[in-house]
């Protein structure tokens, strides 16, 4: 069985120490919901709300649910994912304050839970799976907080119409957008 491990909070070179306890936790399998075209996010967040500090949550999904992991990281969960087959991921979440996530990150997490990182084409921010108006706040926080910033690439899950007036007031606009699976990408630029 092919197994790819991806962890936010593992010990160097191996799985995190808390994994052994997490293996006993019940599994929430969201694959049937997704197969029916339903979004299980509410179900997962409800389950996550019931996890006390030190507790665990285990999700089975047909892919690596990266945005969900970031959302739960913002709520204090470290996570550790295993790809069991090409269409089956099991992700273990540990409610430990999410400190390992930050230690592990090559990225920076904004207060809203959005992630930022730099690529060749400039600064990127991923606001997917954040509850409105958090995506707008994260983007505006970056723009307002970095006067030197001239361009920003946003990873969203839809075209953020309500953001447009706020961008315009700041002299910014959307110059280009693309739409791929799970990634509506917007290129924002400050007017010259």
């Amino acid at each position: 069985m092919a197994e790819v491990m991806e962890s936010s909070g593992r010990e160097a070179g191996g799985p995190p120490g808390w994994l052994a306890q997490a293996l006993d936790a019940p599994i929430l399998d969201v694959r049937p919901s997704l197969a029916d075209g339903e979004d299980p996010l509410g179900l997962i967040l409800d389950a996550a709300e019931g996890v006390e500090f030190g507790g665990f949550l285990v999700i089975d999904a047909p892919f690596n649910p990266s945005p969900l992991r970031r959302v739960l990281a913002a709520r204090g969960f470290s996570s550790y994912g295993r790809r069991l087959t090409s269409a089956h991921w099991r992700v273990f979440f540990h409610m430990d304050g999410g400190q390992d996530w930050e230690r592990d990150a090559e990225i920076e997490m904004l207060p809203e839970g959005a992630l930022t990182w730099s690529e060749e084409d400039g600064l990127h921010v991923d606001v997917r799976k954040l509850t409105p108006p958090l995506p707008m706040l994260a983007i505006l926080r970056l723009i307002d907080g970095h006067p030197e910033l001239a361009a920003l690439v946003v990873h969203h899950e839809r075209l953020p119409q309500f953001l447009i007036p706020e961008l315009a007031e700041r002299g910014w606009r959307v110059v280009r957008s693309t739409e791929d699976f799970a990634d509506v990408r917007l290129w924002l630029e400050k007017a010259g």
Binding site: L34, G37, L41, G42, K129, E157, R158, F162, I164, R173
Partner: protein, 429 residues
């Protein structure tokens, strides 16, 4: 990313600007008409507890023509974007307006004059428009499993809509048939379910989305939204049930639960304001804050009325605080902000350079509106307490001046928006 979310698609469910703006502009115009009718009938406001005439007509121009009209426009525009689900065909939204607008005008004519054909015809058209609105909103909400803080209030609004429309029809038919055992009790229940139920729940639910968006702050936690929805439902059942059963103390208990609801709601909004990124709050927020102050006062007046304390004063005072102090302040405050915001958003929706909010807003007109609106509420409250027709007339006239100022703001904003769109279409923005 979850497949369900992907299936929603990236295309927002943004209805064309003609949908919300026909409701908003109509609400703005009827806002002037409503205050004018009240000013004309101000002499009859003292001790008003119901009955046909100009006060009742003016009241319904405001409640239906301004509050419900604006609520419909906002719901049609905001709900599908917030829930990311289709709301319904655009023609159905337009049909709602086509039914509802003449319905409100004809019904108000009937309420002013007692003309039976106007009462029955107007009520039928009005209820038809409201019913279509309820169906469209209900269809949208049935597809949504998240956003419980917003959708539960919206469901309560839809349920209240059904009850208020039923009670309203009964009251209209009763005017010439006289079959209701206690007309005053039915009227009180109708007012409660309309003010706190339909409009109150729309205002509360949408404020969980709009206020954080306008002040740039984190949203209200779902748990809080669920709590206020549950408390609101209990308060409404007690309040309306008590009124219909003629049990004042039960209605008072409902208002008391309503006060608890308001406390939770305002505490959540205070947290939103505390964490906001936008430090300077615009003019519109003065009205929103005033509305939040008056909302609990209206419930205190409701308790006094339910317990039978000076009903000739507390009844009209309660109506003033509920309709004009809480709802009209809140709705016109939100309109001050949402109209230019949506105009700017639509102007940039197709990738062009959007018109700036600051270009659309004519600030002096908004300031005059806020000052006149606040002054009008104060004068009307004093006038009702003292039963003074001159003070009541002065209050209504001041309200009319404010409404004209607000209409002039809307006129200027629409003219600037349309000029920008025309220039953009010609390639010369």
């Amino acid at each position: 990313m979850f497949a369900g979310a992907f299936m929603m698609g990236a295309k927002d469910r943004l209805l064309p600007p003609s949908v919300p703006f026909r409701f908003f502009v109509t609400a703005t115009l009827l806002h002037v008409v409503g205050w004018a009718v009240l000013a004309a009938g101000a002499g009859d406001l003292a001790g008003f507890t119901g009955g046909l005439g100009l006060p009742l007509a003016g009241l319904h121009v405001i409640t239906l023509g301004v509050l419900a009209m604006a609520g419909m426009g906002a719901a049609f525009q905001m709900l599908p974007v917030a829930t990311r689900r289709q709301l319904g065909p655009v023609w159905a939204c337009h049909l709602t307006w086509v039914l509802f607008t003449p319905g409100v005008i004809i019904l108000s004519l009937g309420l002013a004059t007692g003309l039976v054909w106007a009462l029955h015809g107007g009520a039928t058209l009005t209820v038809a428009g409201l019913a279509l609105f309820g169906v469209l909103i209900g269809r949208n909400l049935m597809q949504v499993s998240d956003l419980p803080g917003v959708t539960r209030h919206a469901w309560l609004a839809v349920a209240s809509l059904a009850v208020l429309a039923g009670l309203g029809l009964l009251l209209v038919v009763d005017i010439d048939r006289g079959f209701l055992p206690d007309r005053a009790a039915f009227a009180a229940a109708h007012a409660m379910v309309a003010g706190y139920g339909f409009m109150g729940m729309l205002a509360m639910g949408f404020s969980y989305v709009l206020i954080p968006m306008f002040v740039l702050s984190q949203g209200v936690p779902d748990a809080v939204g669920k709590r206020t929805a549950l408390l609101s439902a209990v308060a409404l059942v007690l309040g309306v049930g008590g009124a219909l059963a003629g049990l004042g103390p039960v209605s008072a208990l409902g208002a008391l639960v309503g006060l608890g609801t308001v406390f939770v709601y305002l505490k959540a909004q205070a947290a939103v304001l505390k964490g906001r990124m936008r430090k300077r709050l615009e003019t519109f927020f003065r009205l929103v804050k005033a509305a939040w102050v008056v909302l609990p006062l209206s419930l205190l007046a409701a308790i006094a009325l339910a317990l039978g304390l000076a009903p000739d004063i507390t009844a009209p005072l309660w109506g003033l605080l509920l309709v004009f102090g809480w709802l009209l302040s809140f709705v016109t405050g939100i309109l001050q902000r949402i109209m230019p915001f949506l105009a700017s958003m639509h102007s940039g929706a197709n990738g062009g350079k959007p018109v700036l909010l600051s270009h659309l807003v004519w600030e002096p007109a908004l300031t005059v509106h806020v000052l006149c609106h606040g002054g009008a509420i104060l004068l009307l409250a004093v006038g009702l307490s003292l039963k003074s027709p001159p003070v009541l007339t002065a209050g209504a006239v001041l309200g009319l001046v404010g409404a004209v100022s607000f209409a002039s703001f809307t006129w200027v904003m629409m003219r600037r928006y349309l000029a920008y769109e025309n220039a953009k279409n010609k390639g010369t923005p």
